[in-house]
């Protein structure tokens, strides 16, 4: 039995502001999200759960940009991040995000992600904590400042079996 089960996917046929995975069944252990493509500008790429845009996201990120290493932490944000700067109109980014225990109601939710860009300069490790014990039933992805993901960008959501 495969450990990874495909839940939904899309490839953008035109530029889009927000991509939302909804009606996510609560029968898996974790979720796994893969995003490959470009954004109209090199701003933050956001993630929100269950439509929550309150100040409930906490972020830790570690970035390698060429020879420069940097780390940052942000508390009480209105969104989590899947990328700091690996997506823009001329850079193809690839993000791999693992959302652990997404359906449990006895803990806050955490994500582990790593992202890289095709320009030889960006490598990122990002972790988010969503301060909610609610089971995750939807995941929304968007670019900061209402920018867009560009046509051709792919999004795929998988469920990870626990047993």
């Amino acid at each position: 039995m495969p450990a990874l089960v495909a839940l939904a996917n899309t490839t953008l046929s035109s530029n889009s502001t927000t991509i939302t995975f909804s009606s996510i069944p609560g029968t898996y252990q974790d979720l796994y999200l893969v995003v490959v493509g470009r954004s109209s500008m090199g701003f933050f790429q956001n993630i929100r759960f269950n439509g929550d845009s309150g100040s409930n996201y906490n972020i830790v990120r570690f970035t390698a940009n060429g020879a420069t290493l940097a780390s940052g932490v942000a508390a009480a944000q209105t969104r989590g991040l899947i990328s700091d700067s690996s997506f823009n109109s001329s850079i193809t980014g690839a993000a791999f995000i693992h959302i652990l225990d997404y359906a449990r109601t006895d803990k806050h939710k955490t994500t582990i992600g790593d992202v890289h860009a095709d320009n030889g300069y960006n490598n990122e490790l990002l972790c988010n904590r969503w301060s909610s014990t609610a089971a995750i039933t939807s995941v929304a992805l968007s670019s900061d400042s209402s920018q867009t993901y560009l046509a051709g960008t792919t999004f795929a959501l998988y469920g990870v079996r626990g047993s």
């Binding site: 020879a67 420069t68 290493l69 940097a70 780390s71």
Partner: protein, 76 residues
């Protein structure tokens, strides 16, 4: 012993081990030489960064001016 490569054909499932061609051996030797250069360059860069950090810390303690690169290494 001859140098070989393992080819796994994903369509047929057949795996075979065959000897490298002269061209492939030449590529291997070129890779080896380049690999040694790559490793040396990576180590040199790591050593350079570490030396800058040591210098930056010493300057900070002594109240001396840091270069822009030293400052970036300490505080991003």
């Amino acid at each position: 012993m001859a140098l070989t490569k393992i080819i796994v054909n994903c369509e047929t499932g057949v795996s075979e081990e065959i000897e490298l061609t002269a061209e492939e051996i030449a590529q291997l030797e070129a890779d080896k030489a380049q690999g040694e250069l790559d490793a040396a360059a990576a180590q040199a860069e790591a050593d350079r960064i570490e030396a800058l950090k040591v210098s930056a810390r010493a300057k900070l303690v002594a109240g001396e001016a840091l270069t822009a690169e030293e400052a970036s290494l300490l505080i991003g």
